[in-house]
């Protein structure tokens, strides 16, 4: 059951606690701090060539002709390749992660500004880039579809004429919940509140852009590909399918990755181009996109136009939630989500509340914008779901004249109701929401803040307090329900203990900064008592790690973390048998105390895991039927997702003269079950909260009416700095997952999911004296000023 902790747990690092969970500095940090990380762009191979991509300057156009002759004659150029040339090899199109297709290089039309049209391979990246300007493409420009609301109008230009029989820009419809039951509770509700909400298009913008080095050896037929991928094994399989290369001859290496946030889940045309270029030239080929390319062409996130409706009794009992969503998926549906979940896990939009009915109807459309609908630190669209529910709950509180904290407390799912099946069919594994909420309110000094706010309002000052309470669904996922292009979302793990008692653990997931080399060493250490410093964590190389689906959707600890714990237990079980032989007692007479077995009742007779490792590999007999060595491998198939939760409270001040918002305080209480390394968890939370400030206050990928991307550099697409964020105040409660071997839940995206509604709710709360009930993100000074004057507008 839940335990509630002080705001900051005592610092007990692993100097005092030599193995297992607790605070310890990250094992990987020395190499990053000393500039010794090895990223894709650090890979240098003999004879390596460089690839640059020519991109469409317009959003929608037919390609009339492409003349590459001048580029081919440019100094240092080795090859110029167009879509027509790829089409001859049947490589011009590739599948997306959502069973759509996407052009590798455009053949017929370009469908978004920044789409890949041709590539140049040259001796260095300057020569490659210079030659791009010599490629002469004639475009017959077509009207673009930019506003998703108009995509299905009968006279809208058809974007996907490549799809057989396609006559409109419809992408898919999806619904969940019970429409009739929801209609019934809305009909008898005392109060119904409806609010239109836009979650604008944002971009993950990882510090390292996407890129690859492809090295195809024509003699042995082996392709080695260093690439910025969060899912090396899934990519390998897809390359085998797309390119027709035998899978055992493909090695995908994902070295140090400079941030992913979902941006590095898809396969991008650039990766395929690099592979083709290496095969064509017989040389290693490097492609690294620049910042503008990353922002205009790679996976975006959000872009949901939502109507939220909430029904309640007059005394604040929430009865039902209903939503209608228009989803903009860009030119190709590249959503990275399990196949049966085209809207990701948006179905958890009922939030943390025990309600009677819920219903969602969604329509997704194609537009002339960059493809995707990809995850971005959003646990497969839970960001949108949590924003929807937490914003309309605040609208309801406003309508009822009720305190938003009180309204939430009144409607929480109660601890005895878990496992709780929601009205949209999700089975929440565990939760105890009220203590988490109460801790956040206590840390914030909630009542005192409300008093301060009342005083300030009387003086004409603008102060707001915003609350968001979220339940996440992470750790995809059970293979009976979840797969990506037919690949089950299970993860393997292999543990080898060497003769001297040191160990290597091999993971199928891949860190982009999450601290796997530390967390997974601690998980194994907790189980078998080898200190984390003695455990090497290997990941990101398909030739050297077991198969699995990679790191995104906060799935590493829920899935791979479980695998690591279970494989360590498997090794421990074998160690117990070997120990019984060494101590000449039966297995039943041995007791495990982290790091050693001793004879029950005789602690002096013991063998350590290191002693056992040496015996397992050494001379002398082993017990009957036991092979030498001390290692194991498993593949873990989760029985359910894990459902972390959290209570966030944000305090903002708004300058009434300039409408600038300052986030003064932010209190984040997270419950992710068992905590492996609290320092790493806090780091993840700090990053996610900063992300939330960016989305709430400044980030948006905007387009003009011609489809030109207005966020093509970090001068135009703003991401927050340390000056925009307060000192984060974090706390935690612990409600373990009942089905996870160590009770852990994912936490990587909790703060990104939970913080935007808390900030927006705070801004709206501050603007209450102006009669404001809602204003969409990004809440830039100009947009806040509009809201103060009763002129709040959607950003698109």
């Amino acid at each position: 059951m839940t335990t509630v902790h002080e705001r900051v747990d005592t610092f007990h690092d692993n100097d005092q606690k030599p193995v297992g969970y607790g605070r310890m500095l990250r094992k990987e940090d020395p190499r990053f701090l000393r500039g010794r990380g090895r990223y894709v762009d650090d890979v240098q191979l003999p004879g390596m060539l460089h690839l640059a991509i020519l991109r469409s300057p317009v959003a929608h156009a037919r390609i009339v002709s492409i003349d590459t002759s001048a580029a081919e004659a440019s100094p240092g150029v080795k090859a110029v390749v167009t879509g027509a040339m790829l089409a001859q090899q049947n490589l011009a199109w590739m599948p997306t992660l959502s069973n759509d297709v996407q052009a590798v290089l455009a053949t017929d039309k370009v469908r978004f500004q920044g789409q890949e049209v041709a590539f140049v391979v040259a001796e260095d990246r300057y020569a490659a880039r210079d030659a791009l300007e010599l490629i002469d493409v004639e475009y017959d420009v077509l009207d673009p579809v930019i506003d998703a609301r108009r995509a299905l109008e009968s006279d809208a230009p058809l974007i996907r004429d490549d799809l057989d029989g396609k006559t409109n820009n419809h992408c898919f419809d999806w619904e969940t919940g019970d429409e009739a039951a929801t209609e019934a509770v809305f009909a008898r509700a005392d109060v119904v509140v409806s609010q239109d909400l836009v979650y604008p298009r944002v971009h993950p913008a990882p510090m390292e852009t996407c890129g690859a080095v492809a090295d195809y050896d024509a003699v042995d037929g082996k392709l080695r590909l260093w690439s910025t991928t969060q899912a090396p094994h899934a990519h390998r399989t897809l390359y085998a399918i797309v390119a027709g290369l035998p899978e055992h001859k493909i090695q995908v290496i994902s070295p140090d990755i400079g941030g992913g946030f979902g941006n590095k889940v898809p396969i991008y045309p650039g990766y395929v181009c690099a592979i083709v270029a290496s095969i064509v030239t017989g040389k290693p080929v490097k492609w690294m996109e620049d910042r503008s390319e990353n922002l205009i062409s790679t996976g975006f996130a959000r872009d949901y136009i939502m109507r939220g409706e909430i029904a309640a009794t007059r005394d604040g009992r929430i009865l039902g939630i209903r939503t209608n969503v228009l989803a903009d998926h860009g030119a190709f549906n590249g959503t990275a989500a399990p196949v049966k979940y085209p809207a990701g896990f948006f179905g958890v939009f009922t939030g943390s509340y025990d309600i009677e009915a819920a219903y969602c109807k969604m329509t997704a459309v194609y537009t002339n914008k960059a493809p995707g609908g990809v995850a971005y630190a959003c646990s497969f669209r839970i960001t949108e779901a949590v924003y929807l529910v937490e914003r309309i709950v605040d609208c309801l509180a406003d309508e009822l004249g009720m305190d938003p904290a009180e309204l939430r407390l009144k409607n929480f799912i109660q601890p005895e109701q878990f496992p709780y099946t929601t009205k949209t069919g999700w089975v929440y594994d565990s939760g105890n929401y009220e203590p988490t909420m109460r801790l956040a309110m206590e840390m914030a000094g909630y009542d005192e803040l409300r008093r301060e706010q009342a005083e300030k309002r009387a003086r004409g000052e603008l102060m707001g307090i915003g609350i968001a309470f979220f339940t996440e669904a992470v750790g995809a996922g059970p293979r009976k329900d979840m797969d990506i292009l037919g690949l089950g979302m299970a993860d393997g793990c292999e543990l080898r203990v060497h003769p001297t008692g040191k160990a290597v653990v091999r993971l199928s997931v891949q860190s982009q900064g999450q601290g796997h080399e530390t967390t997974f060493a601690q998980i194994v250490a907790e189980e078998i008592g080898i200190p984390p410093a003695d455990i090497e964590v290997l990941h990101g190389d398909t030739d050297n790690t077991p198969f699995g689906l990679g790191t995104y959707g906060s799935r590493s600890t829920p899935v791979s973390g479980a695998a690591a714990a279970l494989v360590a237990r498997k090794v421990r079980d074998k160690a117990r048998i070997i120990a019984s032989g060494m101590l000449e007692v039966s297995v039943a007479d041995l007791e495990w105390e982290r790091g050693a077995f001793h004879v029950a009742g005789d602690p002096g007779r013991s063998v350590t895991i290191q002693d056992i490792a040496l015996r397992a590999h050494g001379a002398g007999d082993l017990p009957e039927g036991i092979e030498g060595g001390l290692e194991a491998q498993i593949c873990y198939n989760p029985s359910n997702l894990t459902y972390p939760h959290g209570a966030y409270i944000c305090v903002v001040d708004i300058d009434p003269g300039t409408a600038q918002v300052t986030v003064r305080r932010f209190i984040a209480v997270d419950d992710c079950g068992t905590r492996i390394n609290p320092m790493i968890i806090e780091g993840q939370v700090h990053g996610g909260l900063t992300d939330g400030v960016g989305m709430a206050l400044m980030e948006m990928i905007a387009f003009d009416e011609d489809g030109n991307c207005l966020g093509a550099s970090l001068m135009d697409y703003l991401i927050p700095t340390s000056l925009e964020v307060p000192d984060w105040e974090t706390g935690f409660t612990v409600t373990p997952s009942p089905h996870h071997p160590i009770g852990a839940k994912g936490v990587g995206e909790s703060a990104t999911v939970g913080s935007p509604p808390a900030i927006v709710n705070a801004v709206i709360d501050a603007l209450k004296p102006f009669g404001v009930r809602h204003a969409d993100m990004p809440l830039t000074p100009s947009r806040v000023w509009d809201a103060m004057r009763g002129q709040a507008r959607p950003p698109i």
């Binding site: 762009d41 990246r125 910042r291 206050l697 400044m698 001068m715 703003l718 927050p720």
Partner: protein, 290 residues
């Protein structure tokens, strides 16, 4: 990595050397000082030059802040950080430190220069607004050492365009010193280090209780940073008061010409022009009195 088009590069060893190179290379060449505006434009290939003439070695010759009896003279290669930390400017024109604190970040301020900022002539540029507010004179040197002095109004001829000819170099900024001066700067930005949504500088000169002269300069609300003579005319000879600031703010809002863009709507920018004019005038008067 964004890569610029090919160019050749030479380091100037003196102002005269730089001018002789400019004479020879003309419009195909560009001076580079801090480079924080020029290099990003070159990497995005929005600006392409055959030659870059690096003048950073001329800091000994052109990096100074000197107080004279009638004017403060600032070398064109004086870096943002030197302006921020200058005791001469802190005493005479605190508007400089106000502005420098909100220009980009320390890394940019360590390299970027006053002359580079003015010559870039970005309509959102802060130091141009500061120099406009202070009625700065720009000293431009050409072939043979010939120097001419132009006002800020004449210096900026359009967005990204200045009065400096292809074979000339901006060498110095002169700020007239008059008694009873107070000055201040305020900027609204969407995020630290961003270009201004709107910014305003104000300077007032008091004698006794009355305003002898006042100037307001705005950035990001027109093709170039704008000085507003009507505000000066309205304030001269008046006692400072909130209603006077209101009046000045209204003039500022009326006389600017903002456009709607990602940073904000034209209406909002007009509102800020008024709001920031009021704020900076109020602060400038407080400083003039103290």
């Amino acid at each position: 990595m964004q890569v610029p088009a090919p160019f050749e590069y030479e380091r100037a060893t003196s102002v005269d050397h730089a001018i002789s190179l400019l004479e020879r290379l003309g419009g195909t060449a560009r001076l580079i000082a801090g480079g924080h505006s020029l290099l990003p434009m070159m990497k995005l290939r929005l600006a392409n030059f055959d030659y870059l003439i690096d003048i950073n070695d001329l800091h000994g010759e052109l990096g100074y802040v000197e107080a004279g009896p009638d004017e403060v003279r600032i070398g064109a290669l004086t870096r943002h950080r030197e302006l921020l930390e200058s005791p001469v400017l802190a005493a005479a024109f605190p508007i400089f430190a106000d502005a420098e604190r909100v220009i980009a970040d320390p890394v940019v301020r360590n390299r970027g220069t006053l002359g580079g900022s003015l010559c870039q002539a970005d309509p959102s540029e802060d130091l141009s607004a500061v120099c406009t507010t202070l009625d700065a004179r720009c000293v431009i040197r050409g072939p043979g050492g010939a120097e001419r002095v132009v006002s800020m109004e004449d210096f900026h001829v359009g967005p990204y365009e200045t009065a400096v000819a292809d074979d000339e170099i901006l060498v110095e900024i002169r700020l007239p010193v008059r008694p009873g001066c107070g000055s201040a700067y305020a900027k609204v930005e969407r995020r630290a280090g961003d270009w201004a949504v709107v910014s305003a500088g104000a300077a007032v000169w008091l004698d006794g209780g009355a305003i002898v002269d006042a100037r307001v300069g705005l950035a990001a609300v027109g093709p170039n940073t704008t000085g507003i003579p009507a505000i000066s005319a309205a304030l001269r000879g008046q006692e400072p008061s909130e209603s006077l600031y209101e009046q000045a703010g209204a003039i500022a809002a009326d006389s600017c010409d903002p456009v709607t863009d990602q940073r904000g709507s034209a209406d909002y920018k007009r509102h800020l022009a008024a709001e920031l004019t009021r704020r900076t005038l109020r602060r400038a008067v407080e400083r003039a009195r103290s």
